[in-house]
């Protein structure tokens, strides 16, 4: 691992825009922060005096909380802006909101938006750092980074591993960020879902596509099971939850036929009995709660790096 790399990006917008070395550098830096989160005093002064704004246009509890804790453990001040309660509902544009927030002399904006590319627009309009916390169907880079961090800590390395992403690929920014990141680090990625949930051209990102779940599970070192968003995007793509569970749900029975040490991931929240059975979610192969813990270390690393970006 090359420690001499200088981080030069003020923003983290997606893994598409990062090199293999930059992704590895974030994961390496996160190791240091992981240690901080295990201390009795889980706080370091690295971002003392900096202000982080969570600007979430979509509801989110776990990602927002994870970013908030990450910022607080770096000694930054954090404010949360809830758009329904702010002037966004009065018609203010994203760029105006960004500039107004910046006028408050803040340092980092963590943004979640239902439109793909919104963080990119914001990053161009403000001098503050912008971190993408999920935009439309585009990217969710910190989720993919924490998935890769967890994978690396479980399997030792990412290069050469077979990773299958199962579920609603079409509407998943988590899938897209994972495919970008994993392929850059040399993993072999397979995506599996019913035809209606596989977006056209996804194979161009370097992923193998199969509609056969058994084929996706065979030889996999890890599976990343995505949430079926029945309450919104996924509705209509599949007849019923039960039907999906029968055909694509990960059960103990299916897991038995996989590699013994297979790592089972899920970005949460889980629909038990839809994407996976409770037995699998709570089983020995599941690292779902470790993912949540690792998310804080990874987000600390990202906030630290973007706020100390060096000029190229």
């Amino acid at each position: 691992m090359n420690n001499k790399i200088a981080w030069s990006k003020k923003d983290l917008l997606g893994l598409e825009y990062l090199s293999k070395e930059e992704i590895e550098f974030i994961l390496y830096t996160a190791e240091g922060f992981k240690e901080v989160t295990t201390r009795q005093i889980k706080k370091v002064p690295a971002l003392r005096g900096k202000t982080v704004v969570n600007l979430f246009y979509e509801p989110s509890t776990r990602t927002r909380t994870s970013f908030e804790l990450a910022a607080k453990r770096l000694s930054a001040d954090v404010i949360n802006i809830v758009p329904e309660a702010s002037s966004v509902s009065k018609g203010e544009t994203l760029i105006d909101t960004g500039r107004n927030i910046e006028a408050l002399k803040i340092d980092i904006i963590v943004v979640r938006h239902n439109c793909s590319g919104a963080p990119n627009i914001l990053a161009r309009s403000v001098k503050a750092s912008v971190v993408n916390a999920g935009d439309g169907w585009h990217e969710h880079p910190t989720q993919a980074l924490l998935d890769m961090f967890t994978l690396k800590s479980k399997l030792g390395r990412i290069e050469g591993q077979n990773v299958s992403i199962i579920g609603d690929i079409a509407h998943s920014r988590v899938a897209r960020s994972n495919i970008w990141g994993l392929t850059k680090l040399g993993a072999k990625v397979t995506v599996s879902a019913p035809k209606t949930l596989i977006p056209e051209g996804i194979e161009k990102m370097g992923a193998r596509v199969t509609n056969d779940i058994e084929e996706a599970l065979e030889g996999a070192d890890a599976i990343n099971i995505l949430r079926m968003q029945f309450e919104r995007d996924t509705a209509g793509a599949f007849p019923s939850k039960l039907e999906y569970f029968k055909q694509y749900g990960i059960t103990a029975e299916r897991l038995k036929r996989c590699k013994p040490g297979i790592v089972v991931m899920h970005p949460g929240p889980i629909n038990r009995g839809v994407e996976m059975s409770s037995e699998v979610a709570d089983g020995a192969n599941s690292v779902i709660l470790e993912q949540v813990t690792n998310g804080i270390a990874v987000r600390m690393a990202v906030l630290y790096l973007v706020s100390h970006a060096r000029k190229e």
Binding site: V36, P45, A46
Partner: protein, 181 residues
């Protein structure tokens, strides 16, 4: 920053002797080594910490526990330095509360690194004492900090750099005064 070697002030043998002498001083001053632990400051201080612990072990018959401290997140110049500080993991696998901690580092200069290390260390617990051991004290302090154990005192000019090279990181053991070009 380009550097040119000017004077070699310690070779492999002299480094070994200095560490052994510091180990003797530690044992003499603290009487018992049962309650001490050594924490080296990453990177080179961590290797010196290991060597110092081994030397204390040879002198006293019992090797104290050793940890390694990364102080990057506590630096007061994070926004000023041009070269990006890389965050490494701190490795302290024992409880430091109530122990006599001997901080180990390669060069004592302005004292700012030690100030960071004290802050970082205290986040891990409450040692009964913290002492400082350095291989080289080159003067020019900017904070009220001093070392308890010094391998070698070296008068230097501010435009000079003291480079401690260790087999673990640089392939060989030596301490050299360099000149900034």
């Amino acid at each position: 920053m380009e550097l040119r070697d000017k004077t070699k002030i310690l070779d492999k043998e002299a480094i070994e002797k200095a560490i052994t002498r510091m180990a003797h001083e530690i044992v003499e001053r603290l009487k018992s080594v049962d309650n001490i632990a050594i924490v080296g400051i990453k990177n080179r201080g961590a290797y010196l910490g290991e060597r110092l612990a081994a030397a204390v072990g040879r002198v006293a018959g019992a090797r104290p526990p050793v940890g390694a401290l990364d102080i990057t997140l506590y630096r007061d110049d994070l926004t000023q330095v041009t070269e990006q500080p890389v965050v490494h993991a701190t490795e302290i696998s024992f409880d430091i509360s109530g122990k006599v901690i001997i901080l180990a580092d390669d060069v004592l200069y302005t004292g700012r690194t030690i100030r960071c290390a004290l802050d970082a260390l205290i986040d891990f617990g409450r040692p009964s004492q913290i002492q400082l051991a350095v291989l080289v004290d080159r003067g020019h302090r900017e904070l009220p900090i001093r070392a308890d154990y010094v391998g070698k005192n070296v008068p230097t000019a501010p435009n000079e750099v003291v480079e401690v090279r260790l087999a673990e990181t640089d392939g060989k053991d030596e301490v050299v005064i360099c000149e900034k070009l």
